[in-house]
Amino acid sequence: MLELRLVQGSLLKKVLEAIRELVTDANFDCSATGFSLQAMDSSHVALVALLLRSEGFEHYRCDRNMSMGMNLQNMAKMLRCAGNDDIITIKADDGSDTVTFMFESPNQDKIADFEMKLMDIDSEHLGIPDSEYQAIVRMPSAEFLRICKDLSTIGDTVIISVTKEGVKFSTAGDIGTANIVCRQNKTVDKPEDATIIEMQEPVSLTFALRYMNSFTKASPLSDQVTISLSSELPVVVEYKIAEMGYIRFYLAPKIEEDEDMKS
């Protein structure tokens, strides 16, 4: 028996909008500690990890560990039927073929039940190691979104370089080149506007903008995004989900155009 009641239903809606473009089908894993997901995109280049801790739910009941395979496109379709203020409850019986999403309006005058068929998805759980990073950039998520969007109109890849002075995003394309530098800026009135750079060593890595752009779909979840970089490690783009957990995207840096494909 599984019953998860989330008062801030819009949160789940946003989570789905954040990952449905990247991942088509995925297993949601429920345990006593929380509701989580780990999935690769269809070309097995990027990895997404989601955690919603049990404490974040108003009511959290998970009698035994459960893995529910869902088509995210379909799940998003159903969650889009929930109002932004609705309370969402996820329900499933042990060994059931279906999962039920219940939407309650804030004043309890409307209750909707959506039942969705589950899928059987073969997937293996990858143990992601805790890593230390040479550079960690924390910046407004809206700013990061804007940068990725702008750069992708010019080039296909972004070079993210972190130095003491700041973080530089650059690209080159047929029509020309672009460089955007964000300086460290802690002295803002609102903490969500801050740009904070923690750097052990300068790093410069190249990534496919296509993926970066789909990561930024998570921007509504958090005012700030954390980008952790190390040479030879995948970049981590993390959006914290207030009081509940996080959504993390991992993407391997590009080496050389050709090597990338052959390897």
Partner: protein, 628 residues
């Protein structure tokens, strides 16, 4: 010499963008008559930059059918001329026609080329009786432009591409060609030379298709096209094949989805068919024809092939590389010894005369110049009073009077004092009755204007005229004047003012900060942030051993991720993911070989591997397990 080029551009706008301008695109093709197919232009968003080029006259046809896709198909014929008027050039047609049935709206008002009249309903074997509507539908997709160049009639054709299992479109395609055939036969019977160029979407024989399967030539359309050719008793020469009967691997179209250029895995579906007599004056027909006497060369312009300049192995499943250019290659034909024509002008069906190009918008100047005061002698008291009313209103300036009176003259002109005017009059009467005679002159005056917008224009025009008179006194004020005012405030120098503004900015922020309850929150957040930083910083002492461990761990994960991608059976290489775009399986993921498609003899080419991503509904799997 007359050079004719046919080119399926796969969107004229992208090709124009690729070459920089329409003129450059046309110059690159270097021909007297250039026939484009799949221009993907719609009448609504036609513009000069894709139709008008200096030194060329254009004749176009756009898709008119509203069903389904909007801007697709479409053909355009560009003729290189030194003069659009009283020219003797063969390239400049003496007549041009959009469509080929002669049933289109545009054709109804003018004569069709060769006075072709299609008698409807049409009886056609295999198709039964065909209604006029059906025929118009076939002609409405912008698939044909006919230009009569005096010595020959040129059909620029974009033949429908049809899936083998689409019954409705198959019928459409058959009808298209059967009606076309009638038109050709009609022209030939008149003794005209008929040239048919374009993307017919038919590869006539096995040699024109890479890896043609058995029975390839048996298909209905291929049989039909061959029956049109001289070898099989038809009227036409397939100019390319007749010039190069032995040539293999000569293709003009490559599927862009499978990277077909890489291994020359294409088909020859862009043709130039010509028929008719030569210009020699001799009785013998045997060895003489337009083809054998006047065709100098017919060749595929291979340097236009997509990705020609780049390394072709860059295809990579079409993911990271977008090859620039059309999926077709142009074909050209050179004719010699074509005599000149008597002097003639550009036909009225040319694109230069289309309102979309010429413009719907009339110049305001023609209206403003006529500052005649509106007068109506044959009118009743009512109108007189209104005239008086507006005169009284226009007292505040001659200029406003002119502007205000303008709409009325325009109305009077357009209606020529007849129907429209009486309508206005009635309207006025009604309104007047409603408002009562006590209404002020201000209320009456607008009622004279026929529409709401006119009312609005009245008030605005008055305002404008007032402004105008003001501005007429002094010259146009510069934007500077708006910035000079704050200068009187403290802060004399540039740098100073900057500082002060910044100060002011900070000041307001301080004021606003506590108000918005921002301060406590910010403290909270910053503390939590520093906490987080602390957490991250502590292990960030970067013990190199641990760092190496994580690197290795990640390498393992990445290898795992790659390995879980299915391998194709032909090359044992990771597949590329695709998803179903239509039908009941929409959105379902599958994996295919990452190599470009090519002839079966080439082991490097796509091995045809296909597999679904392993996802099933739980229900179904249970049923399956139960069954077994």
């Amino acid at each position: 010499m007359v050079k004719i080029v046919t080119y399926n551009v796969n969107g004229l706008r992208p090709r124009v963008a690729q070459h920089g301008s329409l003129r450059r695109l046309l110059e690159a093709l270097d021909a007297d008559i250039i026939c484009f197919q799949e221009t993907k232009l719609s009448r609504q968003d036609l513009s000069g930059d894709v139709i008008m080029a200096e030194g060329y006259e254009a004749f176009i046809s756009c898709n008119r059918s509203t069903k389904g896709r909007g801007a697709y198909s479409g053909v355009a014929t560009f003729c290189r001329v030194t003069s659009a008027f009283s020219s003797q050039e063969v390239a400049l047609p003496v007549a041009a026609e959009e469509g080929f049935t002669g049933l289109q709206e545009t054709a109804k008002n003018s004569e069709t080329i060769g006075n072709f009249v299609l008698v409807t309903p049409v009886e056609e074997e295999d198709l039964g009786e065909v209604t006029t509507e059906d025929i118009i539908k076939v002609d409405n997709e912008g698939r044909c432009v006919i230009t009569d160049h005096g010595h020959f009639v040129l059909f620029n054709i974009y033949g429908p591409a049809v899936q083998e299992d689409d019954k409705e479109r198959l019928r459409f395609k058959l009808l298209f060609y059967k009606i076309l055939q009638r038109r050709w036969e009609h022209m030939l019977a008149l003794g005209k030379r008929v040239f048919v160029v374009g993307d017919l979407n038919i590869a006539p024989a096995s040699v024109d298709r890479c890896d043609a399967p058995p029975g390839f030539e048996k298909q209905m359309f291929r049989e039909w096209l061959r029956s049109m050719l001289r070898e099989n008793g038809g009227p036409f020469f397939d100019a390319f094949r007749s010039k190069h009967p032995e040539r293999v691997g000569a293709y003009t179209c490559f599927n862009q989805k499978v990277g077909a250029e890489v291994y020359n895995y294409g088909s020859r579906i862009d043709h130039i068919l010509i028929s008719g007599a030569c210009f020699h004056h001799c009785g013998s027909v045997e060895d003489h024809s337009i083809f054998s006497c006047h065709v100098e060369e017919c060749e595929i312009m291979d340097h236009f092939r997509r990705g020609n300049s780049e390394n072709m192995s860059m295809w990579k499943g079409g993911r990271s590389s977008k090859l620039e250019g059309s999926d077709h290659i142009p074909v050209y034909l050179v004719l010699n010894e074509i005599p000149q024509l008597p002097a003639h002008n550009t036909p009225s069906t040319a694109a230069r005369y289309l309102p979309e190009i010429r413009g719907w918008q009339q110049s305001i100047v023609s209206f403003l110049r006529k500052g005649i005061v509106y007068e109506h002698k044959d009118d009743t008291d009512l109108n007189m009073s209104m005239c008086r009313a507006d005169e009284s209103y226009c007292d505040d300036g001659l200029e406003s009077k002119v502007i205000y009176n303008e709409p009325q003259t325009a109305i009077a002109k357009s209606s020529e004092g007849s129907n429209l005017y009486s309508v206005i009059k009635r309207k006025n009467l009604d309104q007047l009755l409603n408002e009562g005679s006590s209404s002020s002159s201000h209320n009456i005056t607008p009622t004279l204007l026929p529409t709401q917008s006119r009312k609005a224009s009245f008030s605005s025009s008055k305002a404008v005229s007032n402004k105008k008179s003001k501005h007429n006194l002094s010259s146009q004020p510069t934007i500077k004047s708006f910035f000079q005012q704050p200068k009187s405030k403290p802060g004399d120098g540039n740098s100073n003012s900057l500082v002060t503004s910044q100060d002011a900015f900070c000041g307001t922020d301080e004021l606003h900060g506590p108000k918005n309850d921002c301060l406590p929150e910010s403290i909270q957040c910053t503390t939590s942030a520093t906490e987080d930083q602390g957490n991250l910083n502590v292990p960030c002492s970067l013990s190199t051993d641990k760092y190496n461990d994580t690197t290795l761990e990640w390498q393992r994960i990445q290898r795992r991720m790659k390995m879980t991608l299915p391998l194709c059976k032909g090359h044992r290489e990771p597949c590329i993911p695709r998803s179903v775009k239509k039908g009941s399986n929409t959105g379902r993921l599958f994996y295919v070989c990452a190599h470009a498609q090519g002839p079966a003899s080439n082991p490097e080419a796509n091995c045809g591997h296909f597999q679904w991503a392993t996802v099933k509904s739980k229900e179904k799997r249970r049923q399956l397990t139960k069954a077994t």
